[in-house]
């Protein structure tokens, strides 16, 4: 299994681009700060959001049942899926039963997680992602590299070249306005021809049996108000108890995500379109979430509202790119969610963090991200999911650190040996730390000797 560090090395090899990626995301982080500072009660909002999420998780089955009851009385058809495969089969059956072959989608990380697109395409359905960033990565046959900014890893020249090939824009053209206009007319044709629209869900409301979808582009609104059939896919954790809870989360979401006061469109769905054949389906998906709920140390990760703030601020994410994580949700929150689902496959992710805590500081629902990442490291070592050489190194180190005499001996040995080693050997493959760094010059004496001498 190729870990995060190996993939990050590939990303970082292009130093100019890696630096540019870092700066782009930091710019978004600064916009977030300005918005947060404009609201005096920002910290109270984060507290309230965290408490609403904690309460909801403690009674989540009740709230999902309440949601189901109320949405049925709104004329919404509710489906339940235990895993990604069942989710994909449900969506496909809804489409296939109605002879639908053209689907437009707005952003849904859940459907990325379930790999819905390839499944539907294999069954002969044309799937068009309509968020501009998602359409760009779809045309490149790539997954999104960031949950809010799917094409943040690409330069406008890359997109210009792609659109020239795929949409027939002028060769060499890379002006974002021109390219966006081209995508607008291309996607408008798709919207007009679509027979069904699929969206994610930002918040589902138990007390009213409806749900909210947020976009800036209006793609979710185009996709759900033209074709008669709307399918909305949600993870179980998207539920909130009351209408008034939306106020708290909507005040936090866009400010944390992109540094906007609110998204352009915040759409509340409480029933199907009134046009003939109007249908609204909601698919509620578990896919490993209920198992995370059972883990006391990690259950707060289910509070995530997918704003991406932890990615924008993370020094590791900014310098290693979304693809280094190899999972739908990258960055600090993804480094929890991915290994919680598959510890062996994603064992390297909790180590892709400096544990600086910046993620926890910006998280709008106050997930203790860096504490959970640290706890998950311990658990992965216990489960022996971490590579043998790493476990052995830790075993040696902990036995040295636990014995003062061994520590003293190791210290004096290193001080003597290191300066005498040939450089090629000291910086050999056994020293990954030294790949980008210089070892400090060895001191003449240990700190213990120094203190002893000084106090005489």
């Amino acid at each position: 299994m190729i870990g995060h560090a190996e993939k990050a090395a590939t990303f970082a090899a292009d130093e100019g681009r890696a630096h540019w990626h870092d700066q782009s995301l930091w710019f978004v982080r600064l916009k977030r700060d300005r918005q947060a500072e404009s609201i005096p009660e920002w910290e109270d909002l984060r507290e309230a959001a965290a408490a609403i999420k904690a309460h909801t998780l403690s009674r989540i089955a009740d709230y999902l049942e309440e949601f189901e009851r109320n949405s049925r009385s709104n004329g919404i058809q509710v489906h339940w899926a235990r895993d990604g495969a069942e989710h994909n089969a449900i969506v496909h059956r809804i489409l296939a039963d109605r002879g639908i072959t053209r689907l437009v989608k707005s952003k849904s990380m859940l459907t990325e997680e379930c790999h819905l697109n390839p499944y539907l395409e294999a069954h002969g359905i044309e799937v068009t992602d309509t968020d501009l960033g998602e359409r760009i990565v779809q045309l490149r046959h790539e997954p999104p590299s960031h949950i809010v900014l799917p094409a943040i890893h690409l330069k406008k020249e890359d997109i210009g070249e792609l659109f020239h090939k795929e949409l027939g824009t002028a060769e060499g053209a890379s002006d974002p306005k021109y390219l966006t206009e081209a995508a607008r007319s291309h996607l408008r044709q798709k919207f007009m021809a679509a027979q069904a629209g699929l969206t994610g869900v930002n918040f589902a409301i138990a007390e009213t049996g409806g749900f909210v979808v947020c976009t800036n582009e209006g793609n979710a609104d185009m996709g759900t108000s033209l074709p008669p059939v709307h399918i909305a896919c949600m993870g179980i954790e998207k539920i909130v108890p009351r209408t008034k809870d939306l106020a708290i989360f909507l005040r936090l979401l866009a400010r944390s995500a992109t540094g906007q006061p609110v998204t352009t469109y915040t759409t509340h769905f409480h029933g199907p379109l009134s046009t003939p054949g109007g249908e609204l389906h909601v698919v509620i998906v578990d896919n490993g979430r209920s198992a995370i709920l059972g883990q006391e140390t990690f259950r707060r990760s289910l509070s995530c509202i997918r704003c991406g703030a932890c990615m924008n601020t993370c020094p590791v994410f900014r310098r290693s790119g979304g693809y280094s994580y190899g999972y739908t949700v990258p960055g600090p929150i993804g480094s929890l969610l991915a290994p919680l689902r598959d510890p062996r496959k994603f064992a390297s992710l909790p180590f892709a963090s400096s544990l600086c805590g910046s993620c926890s500081d910006v998280c709008p629902v106050k997930i203790d991200l860096h504490h959970e990442l640290y706890a998950l490291r311990e658990e992965l070592v216990r489960k022996k999911a971490v590579p043998l050489h790493k476990r052995m190194a830790m075993a040696v180190l902990s036995s040295v650190l636990a014995r003062p005499w061994a520590y003293r001996l190791a210290g004096s040995l290193m001080r003597w040996i290191l300066p005498r080693l040939p450089r090629d050997f000291a910086y050999g493959p056994w020293n990954p730390w030294g790949r980008q760094r210089e070892l400090p010059p060895m001191p003449q004496q240990s700190f213990r000797d120094f203190i002893k001498k000084e106090s005489e």
Partner: protein, 200 residues
């Protein structure tokens, strides 16, 4: 129903002890909510116009190039705009394609973020109108500006089955190199007329 019951059982088995719902925090109040709203709406790319009467809206609209050059105009507010599209005869929302201007009533505005609440009941026979139109004109009564989203949701009654939307400015994207581009899929411009006598 097997999956439903399995999921709910698993969630019940794994849920922590019940924790309380918090009280809502005290939310920001602005000295001049109308001015704050105008600033917020402009900052998200919207065009804010303050007028005292509906007649004045018609006059001001006449100064917009998008309006004077528009071929197809629909208005959901009686006597407002030189509407030439009869929405009642459109059988299908796809027939809205090609609409240049839509004039729609907003119920109230939110000062903290420049959002306007538009209930589905004011969108006419096809709710797609607000996003399919090339340019959107919102008309909101003066005095209908709340300070923050918490006040907003105290007002909103989500009717069942129903639809409602907060709109804050024109459609936009920054998906290409974080460069802000107005006019992604929805309206290329969003103007708002706040109508009524000036507050003292």
């Amino acid at each position: 129903m097997r999956s439903r019951d399995a999921i709910l059982a698993s969630l019940r088995r794994n849920a922590p002890p019940v924790s309380p719902l918090p009280d809502s925090p005290t939310a920001i109040i602005y000295a001049d909510p109308e001015r704050q709203f105008a600033e917020a709406f402009s900052s998200v790319g919207g065009k804010f116009v303050r007028v005292t009467s509906l007649a004045e809206v018609n006059t001001e609209l006449g100064k917009f190039e998008s309006y004077t050059q528009a071929r197809k105009i629909a208005s959901l507010i009686p006597d407002l705009g030189r509407a030439n599209v009869d929405l009642a005869v459109l059988k299908d929302p796809h027939e809205l394609e090609g609409l240049d201007i839509a004039i729609i009533a907003g119920e109230f505005g939110v000062a903290e973020n420049g959002a306007v609440w538009v209930p589905g009941s004011t969108l006419g026979p096809h709710r797609a109108i607000f996003v399919v139109t090339q340019h959107l004109v919102l008309v909101v009564p003066a005095g209908q500006i709340v300070h923050n989203m918490q006040q907003a949701y105290d007002r909103i009654r989500l009717q069942r089955p129903g639809f409602g939307i907060f709109i804050s400015g024109p459609s936009k994207t920054a998906d290409i190199e974080q460069a802000l581009v107005i006019g992604a899929h929805g309206a290329r411009s969003c103007s708002l007329f706040l109508v009524g006598s000036q507050a003292r």
